[in-house]
């Protein structure tokens, strides 16, 4: 298994840096259920890291641990070389970790633009009075951040639906808006929970392109969960395979694909 800790260069020439996130011996229990059992892995700066595994393996739970929503009973989380104390999710977000959700978690009552703007909350800190009067800092910030958000909107090609309430959008666009919201935060680490579920091939291709571009252009590190093996194998630099809360494989797509345990537990047949 490949468990790199040193910077390396990918086949297509991208520079992968030091370890950004290091999960050490994580165990997570819900009452009697052990959702994650003693798992360690790392994510290096600039890479695209995939997590795969059968349903109920504990993948989403793992993302939840990373984003601070669940506190593991055992194990340590290291981020940028420092041990991360137990934190509230919003504090984790401030460290530069943004994410999307498996069951879309957009703010249904708000327009697309407002949804994406919420992604930038951590870049805005005008005081109450300034906001109440819409003068000074509040007004300035609003414009500056709007510009940043418009760049994301352009990038993801959702200009046309800016003002639409998200409740009305079809599924695929919702996923894209969610990605936009996460990107607007300008994260160091982007966590994507099944970004392509419920999409057709064409849309998956679009989404793949966005993910690659984000990684390429902004150098954002990405961890993603996905069930479409084609996507996983094509996009990711390294893959972790989970099953019943355990890690059963970790390595490059090729290594994983040929791992017998992985084939038995997840892939069913060797996938190409």
């Amino acid at each position: 298994m490949k468990d790199m800790l040193t910077p390396y260069v990918t086949e297509d020439g991208r520079q992968i840096g030091e370890t950004l996130m290091d999960m050490r011996n994580i165990t997570l229990r819900f009452g009697g259920v052990e959702a994650i059992k003693d798992i360690s892995f790392n994510i290096q700066e600039g890479e695209i890291r995939a997590i795969i595994g059968p349903n109920g393996a504990g993948k989403s739970s793992m993302l939840n641990v990373i984003s601070g929503f669940y506190n593991p009973q055992e194990g340590e989380v290291w981020f940028r070389g420092k041990k991360r104390p137990p934190m509230k999710p919003f504090q984790v977000a401030r460290l530069g970790i943004a994410r999307t959700f498996q069951n879309i978690a957009l703010f249904e009552g708000m327009s697309v633009l407002d949804n994406v703007m919420t992604g930038r909350l951590n870049h805005m800190n005008a005081g109450l009075f300034s906001q109440a009067l819409w003068k000074g800092r509040a007004e300035r910030e609003e414009t500056e951040n709007r510009e940043a958000v418009e760049r994301v909107i352009d990038f993801l090609e959702i200009q046309a639906i800016r003002k639409t309430p998200v409740g009305r959008l079809p599924y695929g666009l919702k996923k894209r808006v969610e990605l936009a919201r996460a990107l607007a935060a300008e994260p160091k680490l982007l966590l994507l929970d099944e970004p392509m579920a419920g999409m057709n091939v064409e849309e998956k291709e679009d989404m793949s392109r966005f993910i690659l571009d984000v990684n390429d252009e902004f150098g954002t590190t990405i961890a993603l969960i996905e069930h479409d093996m084609g996507v996983v194998m094509d996009l990711s630099d390294r893959v972790i395979v989970m099953d019943y809360g355990r890690k059963i494989g970790d390595g490059t797509p090729d290594e994983v694909r040929n791992n017998q345990e992985v084939i038995d537990a997840y892939l069913g047949v060797a996938h190409d």
Binding site: G56, L173, E202, G230, D234, L235
Partner: protein
């Protein structure tokens, strides 16, 4: 596969138009038929109107402030537009909704049992079917005492399909069954669909994004684009159609492309733009 089966039309949707909230026109004249004993796939991109079509059939639009303003829907030749959803279930049409929709606070087993709500053929038969569902989805048996709200996405999906099976339906409207499922589970579920279809004679209307799998298992397909049917035909034919190949199956002349390479910023081509 079974394209030459003798067809008796079960469900017929005739030129329906659906409007949400009195202003948003979503379906602009959709017609389709579901033959008895067939698997019919309804394909199309996001927002094409697949879910809306299924909900129009099962009469679930009402609670979303949507309504069918034109056209007709008949089941076995009878108009069913004004029937309540439960009357439809009694007639054997049951829908598995997109996005799981399990009863969060009920256990998996209770979820399955609610599926048998409309049945009156006694506890033993229900128990037998419960067993059948557990056999199809062993994972559910393991988790039968857990509250559905705490099970993983895939488990919930199985639960939703299993629940629909519990009503012994004649026709199942299946909305995106593959979404969020691990590949071998997708195969498994479609396998189950197929065996239900073949062994128990259940007809399916299947809304899917995963065109690849859907066309592999379906007999006939309809392709929906922005509220209109733009193409229909036997599944095998559709699979061979070059446009379908390119846009829905991700195959080009050279075979499957890597997602990494699809970076040509290809513009969408649409039949009806």
């Amino acid at each position: 596969m079974l394209d030459d089966k003798p067809v008796e039309t079960l469900l017929e949707v005739n030129n329906i138009e659906v409007i949400y909230n009195h202003v948003i026109l979503v379906l602009k004249g959709v017609s389709l038929t579901v033959p008895k004993g067939g698997i019919t796939a309804l394909l199309g991109g996001n927002g094409a109107g697949k879910t809306t079509t299924l909900k129009a059939i099962s009469n679930l639009l009402h609670s979303e402030r949507g309504e069918v303003t034109k056209g007709a829907i008949t089941y076995r030749g009878e108009p069913v537009q004004d029937l309540s959803p439960e009357a439809l279930v009694k007639r054997g049409v049951v829908q598995v909704m997109e996005g799981r929709h399990c009863f969060e606070h009920l256990t998996i087993e209770e979820n399955l049992l609610t599926g048998a709500y409309t049945r009156s053929d006694g506890g033993a038969a229900v128990q037998a079917d419960l067993e059948m569902v557990y056999n199809y989805f062993p994972r559910l048996r393991e988790r039968r005492k857990s509250q559905a709200g705490y099970t993983s996405g895939g488990e919930q999906q199985m639960c939703a399909i299993g629940r629909a099976l519990m009503s012994r339906p004649e026709t199942i409207l299946l909305d995106e069954p593959s979404m969020g499922l691990a590949p071998q589970l997708v195969e498994e579920i479609f396998g189950i669909v197929k065996s239900l279809n073949e062994n128990e004679g259940v007809s399916f209307l299947l809304a899917e994004q995963n065109t690849n799998v859907a066309l592999r298992f379906a007999h006939r397909g309809y392709i929906l684009e922005s509220g209109r049917v733009v193409m229909e035909g036997p599944a095998a034919e559709l699979r061979e159609n070059p446009d379908v190949k390119e846009f829905y199956l991700g195959l080009s002349d050279e075979g499957r492309k890597s997602f990494r390479d699809v970076r040509s910023y290809r513009r969408r081509k649409r039949w009806l733009a």
